[in-house]
Amino acid sequence: MISAAQRPDCGAISTFIGTTRVDESSGASVEYLEYEAYRPMADRKLEEIGAEIIERWEVRHVSIIHRIGRVDPGGASVAIVVASPRRGPAFEASRYAIERIKEIVPIWKREVWSDGYVWVGSQVDTRPLSHEV
């Protein structure tokens, strides 16, 4: 992704890697994360985010990859690479990309615990005891 972003008219490449953070509670722990997507729509929304960035900032290259399926704790789930002539727009645009992904891209993650699973953001889970997520 980074070499594809290198261009002579750009002086900055910003990279953002989102990794899976897991918390521990009540003796149980998260074994892995599992992502699912509404595939054609998710692909299109990622492309839209790239187009929004090109329109709003002086950015010459955007690439975003989001994993689906199983991701182990600490693993990379999303990567964003932005190239711009200057560093300011590169930093701002990559921040914008991750925030927009969390708003509009139809991707869902569930934490798979040793005793059930939790849909992140939905307050819906199969774990035996009721708890805050």
């Binding site: 509404y38 729509m41 789930s77 891209v105 993650k109 939905s122």
Partner: protein, 80 residues
């Protein structure tokens, strides 16, 4: 016929990821919702958290749904 797709917690609540509804006339998404609830009552408590897409684009409750469309039931997204 309208194809209904469900994701994440909504698929769990309904107990299925996909089903079809007989629909002979054009309705709004708001008018379609009671049919979804009738078929899968487990969805009712989630109503206020759900978003919807018609043919792969976010839709409002007054947007139209026609026979042949694909309607997706989308819980709060949690990518990243």
């Amino acid at each position: 016929m309208v194809k209904i797709l469900l994701f994440g917690a909504a698929a769990d609540a309904a107990g299925t990821r996909e089903f079809e509804l007989q629909l002979s006339d054009v309705r709004t998404l708001g008018n379609l919702w009671p049919l979804l609830e009738d078929r899968h009552p487990g969805l009712s408590p989630m109503r206020d958290t759900l978003a919807f897409a018609v043919n792969g684009e976010y839709a409002r409750m007054d947007d139209r749904v026609s026979p042949g469309d694909e309607v997706a039931v989308l819980p709060p997204v949690s990518g990243g």
